[in-house]
């Protein structure tokens, strides 16, 4: 009880310092959360594509179903193909039209003739792709082979960039938070120097004296992280439909964001907020511990 009362008094008596500390933690966790979620999403997408041993074979203009059927039979004989699907020029055009139905300008110039027919090939295992590639490249009428690996590599470079920028920015913000909280707590230690001396003389333990400061720093962290992660959760909820439309093909994203009332979604949001608050408490407390080590030596 005394501990909570002391912390409340500390905060109430210097509200602007408290606000500065909470705001710093808020910014740290807002930026940190956004970069963290972007990284997680990228890694999920990469993992999805990596788990799909697929390649797409595009045929030259004058080739079509005949060449595709021939290739399919050759591939089936290897025993390493799980499934194949032929996409004719007309089907390719239909898909193109569906994807660009809101942009008539893009539809005007395109006919089935300029779109290549293709064969989507799924291997039984990603390691078979290179062997299948040898077979495909030697087949008649093949123009180009596109691997999911190319998509993964592209995503990976984006993810690495996000991680690097997020890591540097997050690290700087955490350092900033530690310094701000450390400074706020150091000022409070200076203000309470006489009280600390009295407490020491009347038999207070080292922990009794330090605990209110550590808890106060932790509380700043909890408040900043709590508000930031709540705001990020609201943003996710707001953009949930767009995210699902764009990335819903990925099962793990669909299972979490598919429904805003599902248990998985609610637990994920709560887990995100609680974990952020715990990390906030740790960072805030650490700031206090640093200040105590510096300004309240035994």
């Amino acid at each position: 009880m005394r501990l909570i009362r002391d912390v409340r008094t500390h905060i109430r008596r210097s509200p602007y310092q408290a606000m500065a500390a909470v705001l710093t933690m808020f910014l740290t966790f807002l930026v940190g959360s956004v970069f963290f979620l972007a990284t997680v999403a990228s890694l999920t997408i990469i993992s999805y594509f990596e788990s799909k041993p697929q390649l797409t074979v595009f045929f030259v203009q004058n080739a079509g179903e005949k060449e595709a059927t021939l290739l399919k039979e050759t591939l089936d004989q290897t025993g390493k193909v799980a499934s194949t699907k032929f996409i004719s020029k007309d089907e390719a055009l239909a898909t193109y039209k569906e994807q660009n139905k809101n942009d008539p300008l893009l539809l005007e110039m395109v006919t089935a003739d300029i779109l290549p027919a293709s064969l989507e090939v799924s291997a039984k295992d990603p390691t078979f792709l290179s062997e299948l590639d040898t077979v495909i490249v030697g087949a008649t009428g093949v123009d180009e082979v596109i691997y999911q690996r190319d998509v993964v590599d592209s995503l990976l470079s984006w993810t690495n960039a996000i991680r690097l920028i997020g890591g540097i920015l997050g690290g700087l913000l955490v350092l900033d938070s530690l310094l701000i909280i450390g400074t706020v707590i150091a000022m409070k230690i200076a203000l309470k120097r006489e009280e600390i001396e009295i407490l020491t003389l009347v038999g207070a333990t080292s922990w009794t004296i330090r605990a209110p400061f550590i808890l106060e720093g932790g509380l700043y962290g909890v408040m900043g992280a709590g508000v930031a992660s709540f705001l990020v959760t609201i943003l996710i909820l707001w953009q949930r439909y767009n995210i699902v439309t764009f990335l819903g093909v990925i099962p793990s994203i669909q299972s979490v964001l598919g429904s805003s009332t599902s248990v998985v979604f609610i637990l994920s949001c709560l887990g995100f907020i609680v974990v952020n608050m715990i990390v906030g408490f740790i960072i805030g407390s650490l700031g206090s511990v640093i200040a105590l080590a510096r300004y309240l030596r035994d």
Binding site: I198, L201, V202
Partner: protein, 240 residues
């Protein structure tokens, strides 16, 4: 039992705090510590609560070697000792009740027990009716009584007071001496560093006299010898 075994404390520059002091103070005794400013009285008290460490010698309190306590374990000693300062050291942003209750809270006592204990000691020092006053609303004598209440609320075995009447008029000081005598009557060992010759001469208790840090006399029913103690220069840890 408080025991000093050839204890010396030298300050930086070899200024003597106390020099080769050996003394035993049994439980329940009332002892005056007298001597001129700079004679080592405050050093003696600060060594007892391990606010200072001796340069040589050992101090034992109830078989606890004071010098062996660390910053993390010194609270075990300080919970046995109540301290009264000349400048009161009350927290100005807390009421009399809250100042006194602080010690009980630190000791982890239950709310009801704290309230009962605090009201008892406030009755003893005559401040029950001013429990909700802040220190700034009290006279010097009342502040000192509040400080005494805080020192004894945890039920310490030993009460130390450093010039408890140094800032008080004679009439108020007399009231403080009465309270300290009453606390002694409850079985507490009382050790008081003072310049108040009237009190020393009137109460006729055991008196330890320090001069230049050395213990020059230990009288069972001592008296304060006028002129003998106050004509020396000031060196070392003077009274607060």
């Amino acid at each position: 039992m408080i025991e000093f075994f050839s204890v010396s404390k030298l300050y930086p520059g070899n200024a003597p705090g106390i020099v080769d002091v050996s003394v035993k103070i049994p439980d329940g005794e009332f002892v005056f510590l007298i001597g001129p400013s700079g004679s080592g009285k405050t050093t003696f008290l600060r060594l007892l609560i391990r606010d200072l460490l001796p340069t040589q010698g050992n101090i034992m309190i109830d078989d606890i070697p004071v010098g062996s306590l660390t910053a993390n374990t010194v609270y075990t000693l300080r919970r046995k000792i109540g301290i009264v300062f000349q400048d009161f050291k009350l927290l100005t942003d807390r009421t009399v009740y809250e100042n006194v209750a602080l010690v009980s809270e630190i000791l982890g006592k239950a709310h009801g027990e704290i309230e009962h204990g605090v009201m008892n000691v406030l009755e003893l020092v005559g401040l029950a009716d001013k429990r909700n006053h802040f220190p700034m609303q009290l006279s010097a004598g009342e502040m000192q009584r509040a400080a005494i209440a805080r020192a004894i609320v945890g039920g310490p075995k030993i009460l130390l007071a450093d010039e408890p009447t140094g800032n008080l008029d004679p009439e108020t000081a007399a009231g403080i001496w009465d309270i300290l005598d009453e606390i002694h009557g409850l079985g507490t060992t009382v050790l008081i560093a003072t310049h108040n010759q009237d009190a020393v001469n009137k109460m006729r208790k055991r008196t330890l006299t320090l001069e230049h840090g050395a213990l020059i006399s230990d009288e069972a029913k001592g008296k304060y010898h006028v002129g003998r103690h106050d004509k020396h220069d000031h060196k070392g840890g003077g009274s607060k």
